[in-house]
């Protein structure tokens, strides 16, 4: 028990720092957010035109209502599970300041994790409610009945937590890889567009050719946003949800193990160079 207590006593200051940082830059954050959500609105109009032109109520199994939920909840999930806290690891390895982290009596990735959690608490409180409320009001107006399902919503939240943790460890791995690439802007752009596509953020995986969609459904990227969003939309049965979440946990363990592995070899590499 005391170990748990000590753990939280060690890391909650990082959360507080993350929160303070976010509050200090909240105006920047809001501008950034408005810019980002613009893309979802463009997609909304494009899909609306698609539905108007196709002349049928559904497009590959999605109604327009589903599409709106998909677009905005994907935006939300993508935003909430986005993780770049560990990105600085790469930079710190290059300039050697990682040594300072290593002599501190706390785990380096936990520092990042708790700091980012502080960040997320503030940003979630600013955007989560408006987006979910907006989507649900839209659904209510369109369908004339309340479509919000508390059980799916809770499962969605749980799935989102897994998604965030996968994203976190995936980006820890990426942060270490950044060590090898100098153009962080270029590689990050490549990583983000590819992840975006593979996670179904650009086109729902269900719209892709069946073979490709099946493969992508297994990859860790689908766990990042597609799985939670599908759960929110009520597209999965309970047994399917259990199986998808199992897959999420599997990928979480893989990413965790991978980050540890890379970390260990990076440390060894450092000790060779250091002196």
């Amino acid at each position: 028990m005391s170990r748990v207590k000590r753990f939280f006593r060690t890391y909650t200051p990082f959360t507080r720092a993350g929160m303070q940082e976010m509050v200090a830059y909240r105006a920047n954050f809001l501008c950034f957010l408005i810019g980002e959500i613009m893309a979802s609105f463009i997609m909304y109009f494009v899909w609306k035109a698609v539905f108007d032109s196709s002349g049928s109520e559904t497009f590959m199994g999605f109604t327009m209502e589903d599409m709106v939920v998909y677009l905005f909840i994907t935006f939300l999930a993508g935003y909430l599970t986005y993780s770049d806290g560990a990105f600085t690891v790469g930079e710190e390895i290059i300039d050697g300041s990682i040594a300072m982290r290593m002599i501190r009596p706390c785990s380096f990735e936990m520092c990042f994790l708790f700091q980012e959690l502080g960040n997320r608490i503030i940003s979630v409180s600013m955007i989560f409610v408006p987006i979910v409320a907006g989507v649900e009001i839209y659904r209510y107006v369109q369908a004339g009945e309340v479509r919000f399902q508390p059980i799916y919503f809770l499962l969605f939240l749980l799935s989102l937590v897994f998604a965030y943790m996968i994203s976190f460890y995936f980006n820890v791995c990426y942060g270490f890889m950044a060590f090898f690439f100098k153009n962080l802007w270029g590689t990050t752009l490549i990583k983000e567009t590819v992840v975006n596509f593979l996670s179904g953020a650009i086109v729902p995986l269900a719209f892709l050719p069946a073979g490709l969609a099946n493969v992508l459904n297994f990859l860790p990227f689908a766990s990042l946003s597609y799985t939670p969003v599908m759960i929110y939309m009520g597209m999965y049965s309970y047994s399917e949800i259990a199986w998808r979440m199992g897959l999420q946990i599997f990928w979480l363990l893989v990413m965790y193990g991978l980050s540890k592995l890379i970390w260990r070899s990076a440390v060894r590499h450092l000790s060779v160079q250091g002196g």
Binding site: I34, G35, F45, A49, F181
Partner: protein
């Protein structure tokens, strides 16, 4: 004027030397933009595999407008990318003082300092799109089509650049404005698609307020149909000119308000 052209040659030569040192960086940036554009095109491809036309627009026409939208975007990206840094870093870190001590125009100097070759990824997409779509469309072709295209591209680029100058100049007062530039810049994606798919409010916004519709849709429809040259091309020229004059004005006012942040 001649002096600035000569200077620009020197700046670019200098930049290319730096570039040769970091070939991989350049490749990665360009590949990243190429992939980003490619993903969007896959999206369009999937849509058009299921419907014949988007609100009356054929696949090739949509690709042409999309490709056209990349022309000013690429030129702007290639030459004036450093403006982003004004809002994000240069003023906040007090680096702007450097530009004030030089005997050349500050705005010109900021812009000329960087030459963003990453834009070649977009350029390649743009060329591929236009090369693919133009032969499949019956575009009315006259002797003046190409000169008009070049002229209108310049003014469309001015729309982009001017909006970037204005939003960057805000940081003269606020020290940082990169996020405002980002917010405005993201609306440019509205211009990639035929504006008839948007509702009236959005159409009015991107035609008269933030005139991104004039960077692609209106000029592109003129080239597609040959109709309405006065509004489609004239609008681009007017929007570009007015915004540019406004941008110069805001920049100069900003310079007067500027206080160094450095220590």
């Amino acid at each position: 004027m001649m002096r600035y052209i000569r200077l620009h040659r020197i700046f670019i030569a200098q930049y290319l030397k730096r570039l040769m040192e970091y070939k991989v960086d350049f490749m990665l940036g360009a590949i990243g933009l190429l992939i980003a554009q490619g993903m969007q095109l896959i999206f369009l491809g999937i849509i058009f595999s299921a419907i014949p036309a988007l609100k009356g627009w054929q696949f090739e026409e949509v690709l042409f407008i999309y490709g056209f939208s990349l022309v000013p975007k690429t030129i702007d990206h290639l030459f004036t990318d450093n403006l982003w840094m004004v809002g994000y870093r240069i003023i906040r870190k007090g680096e702007f003082d450097k530009y004030l001590t030089r005997p050349i125009n500050t705005l010109y100097h900021v812009i000329a300092e960087n030459f963003c070759v990453d834009a070649f990824g977009e350029l390649l997409t743009c060329i591929l799109l236009l090369a693919y779509s133009i032969p499949k469309l019956s575009i009315p072709f006259h002797w003046y089509t190409i000169p008009l295209f070049l002229i209108v591209s310049i003014f469309a680029t001015l729309i982009y650049t001017s909006l970037k100058i204005m939003t960057s100049a805000i940081s003269f007062w606020t020290k940082a404005s990169g996020h405002i530039t980002h917010m405005l810049y993201m609306t440019n994606d509205f211009g990639k698609y035929p504006v008839t798919i948007y509702n009236k409010a959005v159409q009015a916004l991107i035609t008269y307020v933030i005139p991104f519709a004039f960077t692609a849709y209106f000029p592109a429809t003129y080239f597609l149909t040959g109709k309405n040259p006065l509004f489609c091309l004239g609008g681009t020229v007017i929007a570009g000119t007015v915004l540019f004059l406004l941008a110069i004005f805001v920049w100069n006012r900003g310079l007067r308000a500027y206080e160094s942040a450095g220590s």
